[in-house]
Homo-oligomer: 383 residues x 2
Amino acid sequence: MPLKHYLLTPGPTPVPERVALAMAGPIPHHRAPAFEALFAEVREGLKWLYGTKQDVLTFASSGSGAMEGAIVNFFEPGDAIATVNGGKFGERWGKIGKAYGLEVHELNVAWGHAVDPALVEAALRENPRIRAVCVQASESSTGVAHPVREIAAVTGKTDALCIVDAVSALGTMPLPMDEWGIDVLLTGSQKALMLPPGLAFGAASEKAWKRNETAALPRFYFDWRRERDMQRKNQTAWTPAISLVVGLAEVLRWLKEMTLPEVYARHERLAKASRAAMEAIGCELFAKRPVVSLTTVVSPGGIDSDKLVKTLKTKYGVTLVGGQDAAKGKIFRIAHLGYFDDLDIVVAVAAIERALADHGWKAKPFGTGVGAALEVMATAEAK
Amino acid sequence: MPLKHYLLTPGPTPVPERVALAMAGPIPHHRAPAFEALFAEVREGLKWLYGTKQDVLTFASSGSGAMEGAIVNFFEPGDAIATVNGGKFGERWGKIGKAYGLEVHELNVAWGHAVDPALVEAALRENPRIRAVCVQASESSTGVAHPVREIAAVTGKTDALCIVDAVSALGTMPLPMDEWGIDVLLTGSQKALMLPPGLAFGAASEKAWKRNETAALPRFYFDWRRERDMQRKNQTAWTPAISLVVGLAEVLRWLKEMTLPEVYARHERLAKASRAAMEAIGCELFAKRPVVSLTTVVSPGGIDSDKLVKTLKTKYGVTLVGGQDAAKGKIFRIAHLGYFDDLDIVVAVAAIERALADHGWKAKPFGTGVGAALEVMATAEAK
């Protein structure tokens, strides 16, 4: 029998059957009342998910398009921004800023570590020209959760905006935009929203919209004001990715049925179980302040993690990802965001136990990792 | 019984069942060999469809994103461009150019008419600073086919680029990029490619890539050089819209099975049949040089075409579109691009005959339009 496939990557993530079937139906026309009603439902659901009274805008693009939008809509040429760079996605803020002529102050953080909010506060104090702090809620190249709430508290006392890429975080943990004072909050479709890639989302606070009035960087496709004015009419400026919007409506309905506290608790439980399993078999965790959306693990015994990932894929059908850039060959990453349950973690841990042994590393008897994961799950249920 | 729905709009267009089912399958990871093999197949198929040796780049965006890319990758601030403005999409070239600080020379053409290539030639002669001519192969707001081949022959004798938006044209008519000397050729997924919206495509000639070396407009998400370098490795710079790429592979396979001459002949036949039907019932065609992808018709007897469109939708389940801007209330548009056959045209014409009568206009007996369409189809078959 061909291998069954298990997708445990931090995007794309598995699409639930009911969502895939909804998207396989006939395509409604985007200028028709039926689509407008659907889009109104989606807009309302996104506000609920974001915890905001602001408009949450939908774009036909990947998350990087929303990151570009978060830059080009809120600055003037030559403006200074601070970026938290502790991984691939943090680095991207700097690349976008430079592409559009901004003065970029990178707050460099060692891979695997979270930024210290005091460092952000000091940067803003020392350089009052800095007009924004750009950060990831979940840096998925390292599995680190940056302290977004604390950073928003810092920027909230200044004129700087707090710009948060939550592409692999939103829907896995509370990120109440208005309550925490986040100024720009981004996400994408292919993570906790359980859809294929192709949609990105962004919302802006009053403070950010005020800034937008004088923003002078060039923009067209990612012009948020034009989108806001259109989307308030339940239309989009450019043709929307209709089938994905149909799927999104189904996802938002399902998230409401499950309730957000339940969804967050499940992600928390899966993350705890994964970490406990890896530690039980003697592996070191890579992220010092781990996100709940993925678990990053140092490959033990000098095993090249790329080779381990290959074994997992070809022998067990389990798709994980290894490390990038500074972490290449050194770490592997177990994603558990979106459509994942307890037994998906059992599958991943069991396959990892086997694959590590295939590569000559077996510190504990088979089942040790799985057992630790099950303990965490049973304890969570008993509470 | 609820109404059956018939979608005859110039994007989105109906998605064939085999394509919808392919897209409903499990999502492959975009950094995995299986996706790379699929993307290699897609890249090859797109070159075949474009008639080019150049790379055809795939973007997660709607067609407007590809239009933005066609501007930001080939110019310097202050460069002059000429745009053919004879409809909504022609107008968009000017908006994008101005958003990025270009000097825009609009060649205005009355709605319903095609641009005269002599006008383009004169503009380039009078203003040698013009570095490109931007035009639509199919201006879907009016149903007009601009003479792209002739315009490319004109720009070919100058330093100017010929930039062609073929979003609603490619796959309906021959547009051999290399043979005709088109410098930048764009299209989108939701037209003749029979997919949901969410993918856009662009290719550039040697002449355009040479220009790209000194292009200095800011860009990041739509940076074509970065995409080209990645896509040559069967990867994308940013997360691709994976499910749509899976569908695209299926579409390209099917187009190859049908063969392009057959596909173009079918579009030609459906267009001829639609025009013959409308003229037979006494309606005036709006486009003086009609495209094969849609048929635009002046609403007869002073009937508000928006009301006619509403009747078609609510009483017959047939979704057409009316006119925009200058043509609002005055025309209706029957699209037949992509997954359409002869009997789809029969459905559209029959419903139009009924709906016009509902609005008090009936110049000919019922069946006159359908009969004219069938005559065209039978004649085409006899050849």
